[in-house]
């Protein structure tokens, strides 16, 4: 009798555990496309690194899927009328993983580290902050050198990630070997190229929303193997499913696929004026670049190479972005127009163009399709495939005519444009220079309202599409595939995996 009773109670308990409460003690295993670099928000530079941070390091502010800035460690903020002082109220009762309390002092120390540490990659992102002033235990003022509309978006990424000042000053540049932040999960262990293990941080300010005991990130570069691992149950979730594997993943009932259009773009960057090779017909005559753009059927490109899984694009923002210039929509290819432009430019019999391409499958396939399309207009594209590091240094040194390259995208529209097409832009490998473009994009950085900024970006986009230092091709769709037991996952256009509110229900 008593045996039966115990058995019944156990059975009841276990069903209720399974059915109602999210199963605890679950280790979530997430496969990443590559291994993260150093785990120090001030030093790191990889996309996958940011995915790990999304679980480990809280930021001052976060974004919504619609790119609005919302509170995270800063609960509210206000900007002075001239735009040069931002006053932030900070969340109370937050502690870092090592027990150090989070307060205004900690924020000041973090900003100072990002700005002054020799190894810091965040300097340009926080350039506009002149000084910080601690005005209370949980209040801080950021004094800017001038109004900066892009700053809040920077604080929603690595530049706004708060690390423990105690751990940071003890470890110095080696902080990344044992990172200490204040996020939902704390760092446990890392084996390079094998795994990064994080454990739930019991004192997290929002611990109730976290339903996993630990998260393990596993770098699995091969897309087929990544999907095979998900299908065999060895992992629970993967990022960047290959577009060509979409059909296979969709046909598996135990797998759910989610997607979001990315913030970035893929384009052909042309050498306008970078070194000797900048002095070529393609760099000197915008009509040729326009002809190339007219020759490309972006919709067909997306269908052929990516089975239609991505978003064809003609601007630095996808058409889903609030910053997209709707007056300049995507147009179908126009071979006649392309030919007319070539004739006008003095090349009625066509012209050749050498494009360098990263030597991996997708970019090569994209450029082969573009090559075929351009040939119809009389543009004879030759492809030089290069290993990525080489491509990058050739491009930066001006040793190229055109380059198929992408950009992972930024929350603020400035990040997709200013560095590339302003005269002193840090990544302006085209060496494109136009005083009007400079004026527009500089003004957009300081314009106080979203409406004014939008008008400036609309104008800048129109100018970009006329000059075409970058011929935009498409926008990647972030594709996540995960076990059907994962509930409550929200896709974000920044490609991150946010685990707040995500549960495991069998």
């Amino acid at each position: 009798m008593s045996h039966l009773k115990t058995a019944m109670i156990t059975a009841l308990l276990s069903t209720s555990m399974l059915g109602v409460a999210p199963a605890m003690a679950k280790d979530l295993r997430i496969a990443l496309q590559s291994d993260a670099d150093v785990l120090d928000p001030d030093q790191s530079r990889t996309f996958v690194g940011r995915i790990v941070y999304a679980s480990m390091c809280d930021k001052l502010v976060d974004i919504t899927p619609d790119l609005e800035i919302i509170p995270q460690l800063a609960t509210s903020w206000s900007t002075s009328d001239d735009g040069t002082i931002i006053t932030m109220q900070l969340r109370e009762g937050v502690v870092f993983h090592d027990g150090t309390p989070f307060n205004a002092q900690a924020v000041a120390a973090n900003i100072e580290r990002s700005q002054t540490m020799d190894e810091s990659r965040r300097k340009s992102e926080l350039k506009s902050i002149d000084t910080t002033k601690v005005t209370g235990e949980y209040e801080i003022e950021l004094h800017l050198t001038g109004a900066d509309a892009t700053l809040m978006a920077q604080l929603a990424d690595r530049a706004g990630m708060m690390i423990s000042p105690t751990a940071a000053s003890a470890a110095g540049a080696d902080f990344g070997l044992n990172p200490v932040c204040s996020g939902a999960f704390s760092f446990t262990e890392r084996v390079a190229q094998d795994k990064i293990v994080l454990s739930k941080f019991p004192d997290y300010w929002n611990a109730d929303a976290i339903n996993f005991d630990s998260v393990t990130f596993l770098p699995i570069p091969d897309t087929t193997v990544r999907l095979a691992n998900l299908q065999s149950g060895d992992i629970d979730m993967l990022e960047r499913l290959a577009a060509t594997d979409l059909t296979q993943a969709n046909s598996d009932n135990s797998i759910i696929v989610d997607s979001a259009v990315s913030l970035g773009y893929q384009a052909i960057t042309l050498n306008i004026n970078n070194g000797e090779k900048g002095d070529n017909p393609w760099g000197n005559d915008k009509r040729l670049r326009q002809a190339l753009s007219y020759a490309i059927d972006r919709e067909a490109l997306n269908q052929v190479v990516f089975d239609g899984a991505f978003a064809p694009g003609n601007q630095s923002f996808p058409s889903t972005s609030p910053w997209y210039n709707t007056e300049l929509p995507l147009e179908p290819a126009n071979i006649d127009k392309a030919k007319a432009l070539l004739t006008e430019a003095g090349y009625p019999d066509g012209i050749a163009l050498e494009v360098q391409v990263p030597n991996s499958t997708e970019p090569l396939a994209v450029m082969q399709v573009v090559q075929a399309m351009a040939a119809q207009a009389g543009i004879d594209i030759s492809l030089t495939s290069k290993e990525f590091a080489t491509l990058l240094s050739d491009q930066s040194a001006g040793d190229y005519y055109a380059s198929q390259i992408g950009w992972s995208g930024r929350v603020d529209p400035d990040g997709n444009n200013h560095p590339f097409v302003t005269t002193d832009g840090g990544i302006n490998d085209s060496k494109f220079s136009d005083p009007k473009m400079d004026a527009l994009l500089n003004a957009a950085r300081v314009a106080p309202s979203i409406g004014e900024r939008k008008a400036l970006y609309d104008e800048a986009t129109a100018l970009m599409l006329d000059e075409l230092p970058r011929v935009f091709l498409y926008h990647v769709n972030w594709l996540w595939a995960y076990n059907k037991n994962i509930k409550g996952f929200t896709p974000y256009p920044d490609g991150m995996i946010r685990l707040e509110g995500v549960t495991w229900e069998e």
């Binding site: 291994d35 670099d37 150093v38 120090d40 030093q43 790191s44 530079r45 990889t46 020799d118 190894e119 810091s120 990659r121 300097k123 340009s124 992102e125 540049a173 080696d174 990344g176 070997l177 084996v191 390079a192 190229q193 094998d194 596993l218 770098p219 699995i220 570069p221 091969d222 087929t224 193997v225 095979a228 691992n229 299908q231 065999s232 149950g233 060895d234 290993e387 990525f388 590091a389 080489t390 990058l392 240094s393 050739d394 930066s396 950009w407 992972s408 560095p419 840090g426 990544i427």
Partner: protein, 314 residues
């Protein structure tokens, strides 16, 4: 035997020095600036300049080499530009992984290759011989990555028998560790088995036609004793050298196999390091691998000595 080994070690030293110079120079000849990879999407000129200075990339190449070799002799192989971890620590993490893969693959190779070689030599010209040859040739000609992916799709996704990829340390979970390594070591082992099989076969064939084997048979010994005791022992001597040399091939094969099965070993480390222009890591691995290979050869020489009593007099 000791003076013999010492002499071999002394001969090996210049080889190691040459390899270190060669690897260092090759890296610097590679196109691509490590710092551009390192700087990330946004490149801050100030930070770039600092890093260039920190990693001594502005020094003339011979100064860089001397600084590196000086530290290397003290056991410091520098730090990874990518993860900031010391190279020695990275390698200490990876070495047991690759050794486990190598040993398990070698077991597959020996267990399949040698018996198949003997069998096909003894049954020369029969169907068994032809089948063994076809199997061996397939092992040689099927690419590792194809076989690997097919196995994953079949064994892991369809039958769900073994983990699809990854690595579990032996100390953490012995059974799971072996299970995870089974497919990769099989893939790597089969390619080597083919080479071993072909060599065992020809070596056996030549021994089987010698006078002493005929004598053994004439004495009325059973075929089993003739083959396993008299013929095989002599036939194996060249196979021992071959096996030691095959360890080099194992490391090379591990590069691909580790990539497919996402095994965090030496092969994966070096591929990623080359792509990221992580100089210190590449130099460290190649140096250690080269030294390891030289020692494998020394070991083979020593085994020769043990197996072949005639050498003892020299």
């Amino acid at each position: 035997m000791l003076p013999f080994l010492l002499r071999r070690i002394v001969i090996a030293l210049p080889t190691i020095v040459l390899i270190s110079v060669f690897v260092f120079a090759m890296q610097k000849l590679l196109p691509g600036d490590p710092l551009l990879v390192l700087a990330g999407e946004e490149r801050d000129p100030e930070t770039l300049a600092f890093l260039r200075e920190k990693y001594r990339l502005n020094d003339p190449i011979w100064m860089q080499y001397l600084a590196w070799i000086r530290n290397a002799l003290q056991g410091d192989l520098g730090i990874s530009l990518r993860t900031n971890q010391p190279v020695t620590e990275l390698m200490a993490q990876k070495l047991p992984v690759t050794i486990q893969l190598a040993i398990m693959s070698m077991i597959f190779a020996l267990v399949i290759g040698i018996p198949a070689g003997i069998l096909s030599a003894v049954k020369k010209g029969t169907t068994t011989d032809y089948i063994a040859n076809i199997v061996a040739l397939s092992g040689l000609s099927i690419p590792n990555f194809w076989l690997g992916i097919m196995l994953i799709l079949l064994v892991s996704v369809k039958w769900q028998l073994l983990p699809a990829s990854g690595y579990v340390p032996l100390s953490e979970d012995f059974g799971q560790s072996i299970r995870t390594m089974l497919m990769p070591s099989f893939v790597l082992g089969t390619a080597l088995a083919a080479t071993l099989m072909r060599h065992t076969r020809s070596s056996m064939l030549s021994v089987l036609s010698t006078d002493y084997v005929r004598t053994a048979r004439a004495k009325g010994l059973t075929e089993r004793i003739v083959i396993l005791k008299h013929a095989l022992r002599n036939a194996l001597t060249p196979i021992v050298t071959l096996t030691a040399l095959l360890f080099g091939e194992l490391v090379a094969g591990a590069v691909l196999t580790e990539q497919i099965f996402t095994i965090p070993g030496f092969g994966k480390l070096i591929v990623d390091a080359v792509f990221n222009r992580d100089y210190a890591v590449v130099q460290g691995i190649v140096l250690v691998t080269a030294v390891g290979f030289i020692f494998m050869n020394l070991f083979a020489d020593a085994m020769y000595y043990v197996l072949n009593p005639r050498l003892k007099g020299q």
